[in-house]
């Protein structure tokens, strides 16, 4: 068992160390840290405790990156073998569930821990900037390591449980969203003492569960670390609970491995020709849209399921509002509308990013690039058709977002800065999806966390330029008596963004796709 584990582990580490991309990512991360430290130093000339704000920002970025890595990078540890049909070969070679799970997950965990380790020397520089102590840094990184442990093992469990990477990613996303949403939801439920049919015991249970959730929540722990300077413990309940839960999930992954090691069932649309005539039908005039909508995004049945799921989510908020305020005249209060909008938008964004990271990547994995390239469809048009298929699949989420905007737009959007909100959202989303698609053609599974990281560090630059351009356009429009100068600024920004940022990425996507077709 040990030699098998060691062989698999060595192979994983060797392939990681031989590939140039992980090293580029680490070097890029180190460079970014250096720039961030320099930025914080510049801030120290004008602000208070720049070290703490720099460190807080880095920690929050890490929490987000670990979560995103959970739903994209860690989640494929076992499913990538199922997807390529090599899991049975590993079993035939005598690899036990423990050795497979250990070797496949540990190499990924080490790659992620390396990224955390790279940051340490730079974050210690934050001490010299003021506002943060070395004890806070150690405690924060221990909290992040524990968070990494629980997320990685939760994703590993999803990877063992599910038959494909897509399903595992969906399950991991749902678990993470539920974890973060459960805190405020349980807190709100525990306050519903006016509802007669909710017993005090149930309310107490909600309160207790909320407290437990807070004890495990990395953001709560980090807030505690940032606020505490004296008598700070290096390890708190969050560390022990997360580590224990991570270990438990790892154990479950090993124990349940054999139960769920069957290859994916390709028969998601039924076997009966009559049923398939309804669920799949004949190929559309836009064949790639048809193929991707039905065989990549889940097709009509999954679309209907999503419509019901989004409707149920909004109905849940309405029910909660009616429960809290039995005599309310509105369906939803402005606060709850904002929360519902946030959750629906988050789901919509995650769904969009998962499609972006897998749409082209799966064609590469299936060695289908050359066959698609030989079709009399130009590559840009083919990629547009793939985008259109994802757009159709995203329509329930988009409809839910629009529905909430139409219901109470004033509560959701900052009407004062509507153009800024629109430009900001479009810039972030288009940049993120473009980067995710491009990176998915280079890396195996880490496209999504990398894209989030690059977007987060590049957004201040792009956002600054956008704000500046909007101001210039508005002033120029005002000088020439042109009304709607702000909206002119929006158009200028979108044009600029497309021309100098998105178009080069799109060209590189097409070039990379063409290069892959030759391999």
């Amino acid at each position: 068992m040990i030699s098998g584990t060691q062989t698999l582990f060595n192979w994983s580490l060797r392939s990681d160390s031989r590939s140039i991309y992980p090293h580029i990512v680490r070097a890029g991360f180190a460079g970014f840290m250096l720039l961030a430290v320099m930025g914080a130093w510049g801030q120290s000339l004008t602000g208070m405790a720049p070290g703490l704000s720099f460190f807080r920002w880095i920690c929050n970025l890490n929490v987000l990156l670990i979560a995103v890595a959970g739903i994209s990078y860690f989640v494929s540890a076992v499913t990538e073998e199922k997807d390529s049909g090599t899991l049975a070969l590993l079993r035939l070679a005598g690899a036990s569930p423990l050795s497979i799970v250990l070797s496949k997950s540990t190499s990924r965990l080490i790659s992620a821990l390396m990224l955390l380790l790279i940051q340490l020397p730079f974050t210690f520089l934050a001490i010299t900037l003021g506002g943060v102590t070395w004890q806070q840094i150690i405690a924060a990184y221990l909290a992040l390591a524990a968070w990494l442990c629980v997320v990685a093992n939760m994703a590993l469990f999803c990877s063992v449980r599910c038959s494909t990477s897509g399903r595992a990613a969906a399950l991991a996303t749902a678990v993470l969203l539920l974890f973060f949403a459960s805190g405020p939801l349980l807190l709100e439920f525990s306050k519903l003492s006016s509802v007669s049919w909710l017993s005090p015991r149930a309310l107490n249970a909600c309160r207790h569960l909320h407290d437990e959730q807070q004890l495990m929540n990395v953001t709560t722990r980090l807030d505690e670390i940032f606020l505490t300077t004296a008598s700070l413990k290096f390890v708190a309940a969050q560390f022990w609970r997360s580590t224990a839960l991570g270990g438990l999930l790892f154990l479950c992954s090993v124990l349940l491995f054999n139960c769920y090691s069957e290859p994916a069932d390709d028969n998601t649309h039924g076997t009966s020709a009559a049923v398939r005539r309804y669920t799949i039908g004949r190929c559309w005039k836009l064949p790639v849209v048809w193929k991707d909508f039905l065989f990549f995004t889940g097709g009509k049945s999954f679309l209907i399921l999503k419509v019901f799921a989004y409707a149920a989510l909004i109905a849940g908020f309405v029910w909660f509002h009616q429960l809290e305020n039995p005599n309310a005249t509105q369906w939803l209060s402005p606060d709850l509308t904002r929360v519902a909008f946030g959750i629906v938008s988050l789901l919509f964004t995650v769904e969009m990013l998962l499609y972006a990271s897998n749409s082209l990547f799966l064609e590469v994995r299936q060695s289908a690039v050359a066959s698609l390239k030989m079709l009399p469809i130009p590559t840009p048009l083919l990629l547009l058709q793939k985008t259109a298929a994802c757009a159709v699949a995203l329509s329930p989420g988009l409809l839910a977002v629009l529905f909430l905007c139409c219901y109470d737009g004033a509560a959701i959007l900052d009407i004062e800065d509507l153009p800024g909100t629109i430009v900001g959202w479009i810039i972030v989303m288009t940049l993120l999806t473009h980067l995710t698609i491009l990176l998915s053609l280079y890396t195996r599974w880490a496209a999504l966390p990398l894209a989030v990281f690059i977007t987060m560090i590049s957004f201040p630059c792009i956002g600054g330029a956008a704000v500046g351009l909007t101001e210039i356009t508005r002033s120029a429009a005002a000088l020439n008596g042109i009304p709607w100068g702000v909206w002119l600024g929006v158009i200028v920004n979108l044009l600029w963004m497309w021309l100098f940022v998105l178009l080069p990425i799109e060209i590189e996507i097409v070039n990379r796709w063409n290069r892959l077709s030759q391999q």
């Binding site: 390709d266 028969n267 398939r276 799949i280 190929c283 005039k285 193929k291 066959s371 009399p376």
Partner: protein
């Protein structure tokens, strides 16, 4: 019977001085050959010889560093779209969308080639009949055997009725029955007027199937021309094969004493009663045959010994491990 073709016809494939290098490795070095329409052309070479690179250059996936490739007179560089309309390419690692049924898979590719709904039905029925997959049209691709998937892949390249089929190792991984059936389908396609350019390692089957052949080794063409020209090596014209039923013990001595026979050998892996005769080049083989009949030996067969394709391949290609 191989078809006859007009020597002045535009070649289905014309490769001239094709050169390509990958990261310093010279994959192809000024290779030139031509494939005439409505023929089956074998493309043979050891691993790493440059077969797949050549195929990719022909099917427009790869832009070569130097040289010209044209398909039915269309340059692959400047008229890639026109070339793609006339070719069907089946790569060695062909992709299958496993969640689709056979019909859905073919429907997708037919629609991608712009066929309308009515003609799609007709075309899919035709290619399924041709590949003998009619009864499996509603089966999931994931449930098909490797041989069946190969047939579906072949059906896929036929949906837009291409004039030229480029097949990269189509018989690899197939059992003997599936290989023989595939070869029958290819013969039928030639009869229908298709040109087939086939890369394969199974030399015995290529020798039976192909009208012409190109042998490539380490990026150089070692031979290109009709299969007969390769096999009818001049060195072999004086070697004959004789097979006798129940030959007497001293048959070797008897044969050696005949005029015109230089040597008699028993082939190492030959059949019972089989002998290799080397004749004097100046002697008419008919006279030798008459002499053998005159000895009263029971002759089963007598004929000029042809070189086997694998022998020709071994003679032309260099031994050793390729980088």
């Amino acid at each position: 019977m191989p078809p006859t073709y007009d020597a002045n016809a535009v070649p289905a494939i014309s490769v001239s001085e094709l050169t390509h290098a990958f990261k310093g490795h010279q994959a192809l070095n000024q290779i030139s050959f031509a494939v005439m329409p409505q023929t089956i052309h074998g493309f043979v070479g050891p691993n790493g010889a440059g077969k797949t690179t050549t195929l990719k250059a022909i099917c427009t996936l790869l832009k070569p560093n130097f040289g010209e490739v044209s398909v039915f007179g269309h340059s692959v560089r400047s008229e890639a779209t026109a070339v793609r309309e006339r070719i069907g390419f089946m790569p060695d690692h062909f992709s299958m969308y496993r969640q689709m049924t056979v019909f859905e898979y073919l429907d997708f590719f037919a629609a991608a080639y712009g066929l309308n709904l009515a003609s799609r039905d007709q075309v899919i029925n035709d290619v399924l009949t041709l590949t003998d997959m009619d009864g499996r049209r509603n089966d999931l691709i994931s449930g098909l055997s490797r041989g069946m998937q190969q047939r579906v892949s072949l059906a896929r390249v036929l949906v837009h009725d291409p004039d030229l089929l480029l097949l990269d190792e189509p018989a690899s991984g197939l059992d003997p029955r599936a290989r023989i059936e595939l070869m029958d389908i290819l013969r039928e396609l030639r009869r229908m007027g298709k040109t087939i350019f086939i890369s394969s390692h199974i030399l015995t089957e290529l020798a039976e199937l192909c009208d012409s052949v190109t042998i490539i080794d380490r990026g150089h063409v070692k031979f290109s021309g009709p299969m007969d020209a390769l096999l009818d090596d001049h060195q072999e014209t004086s070697r004959f094969s004789l097979r006798l039923a129940q030959p007497p013990e001293n048959v070797t001595e008897l044969l050696r004493q005949l005029n015109g026979i230089v040597s008699v050998e028993v082939p190492e892996y030959g059949s019972a009663g089989e002998f290799d005769l080397e004749l004097d080049p100046a002697t008419d083989s008919n006279i030798v045959l008459s002499s053998i009949i005159g000895l009263g030996l029971p002759i089963i067969s007598f004929g000029q010994r042809r070189k086997q394709l694998n022998q020709a391949f071994m003679d032309l290609t260099t031994r050793g491990v390729r980088s």
